[in-house]
């Protein structure tokens, strides 16, 4: 599939890094890319289940475009959220729904993480996509 130029650039950047530490650092840095959903707004409906740590997302559609707010107590998890933000926040719903979690595999970001963390990413991705579909369906 084809990605937005921003996402493509990110994928390339990731691929170039060999050192795990540096890749983690990059994910950490991406934590700043989220539209922060502050802890006081975390609730059972925003919670991503199956994550080791607290991870919360809120999805909306504004002007036919995806609006994603998110936050986590782990900076790494929030970094993953940042990546997802770059991938779909502000894009048209139809476009966003084309995305599969493969992009994260392609980036090599998932095998930087422990299996439970990559499952967490998968759960977050699924929750976000499900909610976009739902809103669109309403």
């Amino acid at each position: 599939m084809t990605y937005s130029s921003e996402l493509s650039k990110l994928i390339e950047e990731f691929k170039e890094i060999d050192d795990k530490m540096e890749r983690l650092e990059m994910v950490f840095d991406l934590a700043d890319e989220v539209n922060l959903l502050p802890p006081q707004e975390w609730s059972d409906t925003t919670r991503v289940v199956g994550c080791q740590s607290e991870a919360h997302v809120r999805v909306d559609v504004v002007n036919a475009c995806v609006n994603l707010e998110s936050g986590a107590d782990s900076k790494l998890v929030q970094g993953l959220m940042g990546i997802l933000t770059l991938a779909i926040h502000g894009t048209e719903v139809a476009e966003a729904l084309k995305l599969t979690p493969d992009f994260a595999t392609e980036m090599g970001v998932l095998n930087t993480l422990s299996p439970s963390r990559s499952n967490g990413f998968r759960n977050m991705f699924d929750k976000v996509m499900r909610e976009i579909e739902q809103i669109q369906g309403d």
């Binding site: 080791q52 422990s114 299996p115 439970s116 963390r117």
Partner: protein, 395 residues
Amino acid sequence: MREEFPILQRKINGYPLVYLDNAATTQKPASVINAMNDYYANSNANVHRAVHTLAGEATEGYESCRTALKERFNTDKAIITSGTTEAINLVAHAWGRANLSDGDAIILTEMEHHSDIVPWQMLAQEKNIELRYVPVMEDLTLDMELFESAIEGAKLVCVVHISNVLGVCNPIEQIVSIANKHGAKVLLDAAQSAPHQDIDFKSIGVDFMAFSAHKMCGPTGIGALLVTDDAFEEMQPFMGGGDMIETVSIHGSTYQTNEQKFEAGTPRIAEAIGWTEALNWLSSIDIVAEHKRILESARWLANKLRAMGMNVYGRHDDHDAAVVSFLHPTMNSEDLAHLLDARGFAVRTGHHCAQPLLDRLQITGTLRVSLYFYNTHEEVESFVEYFSEILERFA
């Protein structure tokens, strides 16, 4: 194939090992031994909920076994246990204790292994449940007429797929269809069939299926219980501890909702990794053709032994196992087994954990030769040759 199994190089009392005790346990190919070795030498760690690389590798290794089981047997739920015996006890405790009560009936057969009798006797005593045993007839098959009349009011049928003594394969499709008609669940003891057949769990239609890795080229200490989603939902936790919980507080606990709910404590990690390789090995051979080949050898052996005056207990139909149980009219089986061992032949004697079956046959044990895919017809011929020699010298 034989060169893949290191133990087949072994000499016993100076003679090449001829391993004919495969219904008790099978030998392991190098790939299985090496996989466990490799795990301990390179990836050993505790599984689940951990971040570091080794823990990730161990978790993937452990879970790969579940994936391999699901693929090979076409099932949605595969609970990893320590073997067939624990798998059946798991059904008795997790499903039986929660779903059976005073006055209910369970159907067993006289052909069952002790592992599919004793757990039910215990449950029957605790809950006042009736056990009905389907008799074995003269021709060594189950009395299906009596089964049909016994099913009335039964909640569970526990049946061995292939008898470890006779090699007889029971008509599971027929049993399932009768049981279904009466709303009874079916537990299949597949300890002897999973190693010898391709079984499709969903199409065979049973609710529970139990088997052991060690009888299918895998390691000791591990086995599985396959369960339908419906039956799974009816199961209550059995053993409590780490890994099977979601949350624990001093006021109570909540449990996992997947198979881990029944896998308390640090699991059998190395064993799961070894078993995965064994399942791979089995997928790499033509098991239908191989089964046909060894069954032919078993038939040949059975006929030879009959001609030598032995009493053979088995019929060796197309789906039966390559198992030949027999008795010498006067000589003690263990004496014979000792003499066989002197020349490297490994056979089993005794009650084979199936005393009710032997009671029905009015014997106390048999001498059993059981073949697996690495056995050759030449081995069986040499068995017959040496066995005749023994009889000439000692009978």
